[in-house]
């Protein structure tokens, strides 16, 4: 038993959990971090599938929406065909075209997160969250308040649990309804595993239980985790750690279960016939996820095509042809989806109407790519994160839909809540993301392909972004003008779809 006790390292688990939580900071919904940070070691489409199956995130648009893009010609048929050929080979293109355009897929299986804790409902017909959340959010809201309430939390300058202890020991009214949880707080300094052995029992399930519990309010947890990491003091000089939040929530859970079920409850694991599937096990690719990935690529390349076609053009070309692009280019309004690193002549070739981040960079003075390395190392993680923030706000990562956003409200001046459950909002409001297509960042670099490959090999943080295709990188050869793109970590020549160039689709 003792040997297994060591297998659950609560600080390691909390550290991992933090990677998954949104990096919400007070007063901001924009986090400047990849919303799928924890999945960054996977390639983009695998990460989308994994996040969706594991955490229930909405990581892509619905099939209907993609198909409506196709019908309205925002996804060009020839681009879709090209993506199909690339992904499935010519032989299977026809078969997959049918799947992509027509096939009806069953709705997704419920996500893995929350399955373990759903057993409270199954076994005891009680949902601890329904009672714990309002109390927890109320106390947390008051504790973290940045200036809404007139009467601030009465204990200042201490940690969260110490503050609660101070109030509990001196107040005639307790935050708890039953004695056990109160005594645990007042007379012991319980560790997470102590409390989990009361609530869950089996150590195998501890980690999954914590994930379930914290993801039921990922906004609040993310905020507390960020507050802890940034070591920002709260206005009243207090502080809070993620560990304290988890301990307090577990105490409240014990309180609610004691209150509701008296002594008639056992640790959750004791009544489980079979354990739920491992939260972290890889989620296999299925037809639907592949179809969604194909659609996403088609949407992106329909947009990129016009830009790249413009870049391919000879600068000395007649201005008439360039003028032909204006109406087409002005259509797309995906923010933060284009970044160009090159000489002004390259930048000038950009079709009008696109907003791009421009870095002036001369390949000839940087033969070893040292400057480029610095640029990419800075630009890709920051722009990529900003871009993905829009991307996942558009797909509605956490099911924050417009109807909820209409009833949002400010809590403690540090965050917004917009649903009946009372969690803090993460990601951008849906109305900001409405009207554009989710689109990964396209980075265009003017440099020789061999140099770029060397630079990528030397990159640190940005390397994962590029190799796993969280960002598209297009290399424009400054001499031949040929374009190549990174696919699966290798550079391959990019063939422009000439038809798309000559017949701009409106």
């Amino acid at each position: 038993m003792t040997a297994r006790n060591n297998s659950f390292d609560e600080y390691a688990v909390l550290h991992e959990l933090k990677q998954f939580l949104p990096a919400l900071s007070p007063g901001r919904t924009f986090t400047h971090r990849n919303p799928l940070q924890a999945f960054r070691f996977l390639s983009f489409h695998d990460a989308l599938r994994q996040a969706s199956g594991m955490l229930g995130y909405q990581t892509s648009l619905s099939l209907e929406e993609y198909r409506s893009f196709y019908n309205s010609k925002r996804v060009k048929p020839e681009v879709l065909e090209k993506v199909l050929v690339e992904k499935k080979g010519i032989a299977k293109t026809f078969e997959w075209q049918d799947k992509v355009l027509m096939k009806k897929f069953p709705s997704d299986a419920p996500p893995r997160i929350g399955r373990l804790r759903a057993n409270w409902q199954k076994q005891y017909k009680t949902d601890p969250d329904a009672r714990v959340h309002p109390r927890l959010f109320r106390i947390l809201g008051n504790y973290l308040d940045h200036g809404v309430s007139d009467w601030k939390f009465p204990v200042r300058g201490q940690g969260f649990l110490d503050s609660m202890r101070e109030v509990e020991s001196n107040s005639f009214v307790s935050a708890f309804n039953t004695p056990r949880a109160r005594n645990l707080l007042l007379h012991t300094s319980p560790s997470i595993s102590d409390l989990l052995s009361i609530i869950v029992g089996d150590e195998m399930l501890f980690q999954q239980y914590l994930f379930d519990q914290q993801f039921a309010h990922r906004g609040w947890s993310g905020l507390v985790a960020t507050l802890e990491d940034s070591r920002n003091e709260l206005p009243n000089g207090s502080s809070i750690t993620f560990h304290e939040l988890v301990v307090f929530e577990l105490l409240l859970e014990i309180d609610v279960l004691d209150d509701r079920l008296g002594s008639h409850w056992q640790p959750l694991a004791s009544g489980l016939a079979n354990y739920p599937a491992d939260l972290f096990a890889p989620i296999p690719a299925d037809e639907k996820s592949e179809v969604l990935a194909i659609w996403q690529e088609a949407v992106e390349w329909s947009y990129y095509e016009g830009i790249l076609a413009g870049l391919c053009r000879d600068p000395q070309n007649s201005p008439n042809q360039a003028a032909g692009y204006i109406p087409e280019a002005a259509v797309t309004n995906a923010p933060d989806s284009l970044c160009i690193t090159g000489r002004p002549s390259v930048i000038r070739n950009l079709p009008t109407g696109h907003r791009a981040f421009l870095n002036n960079y001369d390949f000839s003075v940087d033969p070893d790519g040292e400057v480029l390395e610095k640029i990419l190392e800075t630009v890709i993680p920051s722009l990529g994160a900003a871009n993905l923030e829009y991307y996942f706000s558009r797909t509605g990562l956490t099911d924050v839909n417009a109807e909820n956003a209409l009833a949002d409200q400010i809590v403690g001046l540090f965050g917004m809540t917009d649903n009946a459950g009372g969690d803090l909002r993460t990601g951008l409001p849906a109305e900001l993301a409405r009207g554009f297509e989710p689109m990964r960042l396209l980075c265009i670099v003017e440099q020789f392909p061999e140099t770029v490959m060397k630079v990528i090999g030397r990159l640190r943080e940005a390397q994962l972004w590029l190799v796993n295709e969280w960002v598209h990188l297009v290399v424009a050869d400054p001499v031949s003008g040929k374009l190549s793109i990174i696919k699966n970590g290798e550079l391959i020549a990019y063939k422009s779809n000439k038809r798309a160039v000559e017949e701009p689709v409106h």
């Binding site: 900071s25 007070p26 007063g27 901001r28 329904a130 009672r131 309002p134 109390r135 109320r138 106390i139 809201g141 008051n142 973290l144 308040d145 940045h146 200036g147 809404v148 309430s149 007139d150 009467w151 601030k152 939390f153 009465p154 101070e166 109030v167 001196n170 107040s171 005639f172 009214v173 307790s174 935050a175 940034s230 920002n232 003091e233 709260l234 206005p235 009243n236 000089g237 417009a402 109807e403 909820n404 209409l406 009833a407 409200q409 400010i410 809590v411 403690g412 001046l413 540090f414 965050g415 917004m416 809540t417 009946a420």
Partner: protein, 311 residues
């Protein structure tokens, strides 16, 4: 005679003016929120229905007309609360009945006024006061307003706080001649007002959620208005109602900005309040009591929450 059912006096005028101003305001806000969305027609229709009900109530000359308007306004208020939601899985009737519980009192009062007119005026007054108290989010079902405000859009919130919640006072003022000489009723109204004002003021002071705070501030003021009505200061009550309505509307419209990241500690004044002078035990006790909202909130929200899960 049809026209006998309507009545126009200073009270009508005051309510009409306040109502008109805040409805236009809410409509303007709703326009900017809902325009171009699928809820827009729903919003327009509901607001019109609400106005019709409100008009009927303020112009009513008898209990029957008043009840008709009251019901229309009640339904419209409920529709305003759920305006922005989707009803794919249907909506629980339970929430609706809790919100509309107050009408039972009015119905009973009407029935009683027909049958027991001479015998038991206190009972009728009591029923009227109960209805008014419920409508104005006073005790005992005092938490409908914070609940409703929290879960509705700003435009609906303005109508609910400024108009629906003030109708209870209207009912009291309209039936004023009826209970004017019943001392016990006046004491009861005043006590209700005192209790609600004391509770709500405390809730508002420790509240960290902006919308709930607005609701509690409005509720505390309504409590004061109840006292004024009971004391017979009708004009003062009318001024207070209008002031309270506009204050609530202003607060809902101009919500405070979120803190700038990283600046939180420095920008916000952390001045001590008079509560800090209380002895520690008393201070913590009162704080916890108000933070838990005396359990009033959790009890009602237990019923309403089930409906939120459904929608």
């Amino acid at each position: 005679m049809f026209w006998n059912d309507f009545h126009f006096d200073g009270l009508t005028l005051a309510y009409l003016a306040t109502g008109l101003a805040t409805t236009l305001l809410a409509f303007g806000i709703g326009r900017s929120t809902f325009r171009g969305q699928k809820q827009w027609p729903r919003f327009v229709c509901t607001t019109l229905l609400f106005c019709a009900g409100y008009g009927l109530v303020v112009f009513s000359g008898g209990l029957k007309t008043l009840l008709l308007g009251w019901e229309i306004m009640g339904i419209a208020s409920f529709l305003l609360m759920i305006l922005h939601r989707e009803f794919k899985q249907g909506i629980s009737a339970k929430a609706f009945f809790i919100y509309r519980l107050g009408d039972v009192g009015l119905l009973l009062a009407m029935w009683a006024s027909h049958h027991l007119w001479r015998e038991n005026t206190t009972l009728i007054s009591f029923l009227l006061v109960a209805t008014a108290s419920m409508q104005s989010s006073q005790l005992p079902l005092s938490s409908w307003l914070p609940q409703a405000l929290e879960n509705s859009t700003t435009a609906s919130g303005i109508l609910l706080t400024t108009l629906t919640a003030q109708m209870g006072v209207f009912l009291l003022l309209r039936t004023y001649p009826f209970w004017e000489h019943q001392f016990s009723v006046r004491v009861m109204i005043a006590l209700l007002g005192v209790a609600a004002a004391a509770l709500a003021a405390g809730f508002a002071r420790v509240q960290s959620s902006v919308k709930r705070r607005i609701a509690y501030v409005s509720m505390a003021h309504t409590g004061l208005i109840f006292i004024e009505v009971a004391a017979g200061f009708k004009s003062l009550a009318l001024i207070h109602i209008a002031a309270n309505a506009f204050l609530a509307a202003y607060r809902l419209l101009v919500q405070p900005p979120l803190v700038a990241a990283g600046m939180g500690g420095r920008t916000i004044s952390n001045s001590r309040t008079w509560e800090d002078r209380l002895p520690k035990k008393l201070k913590y006790t009162i704080y916890m009591l108000y933070t838990k909202e005396w359990g009033v909130y959790s009890r009602l929200s237990k019923y309403l929450r089930s409906s939120h899960h459904l929608c």
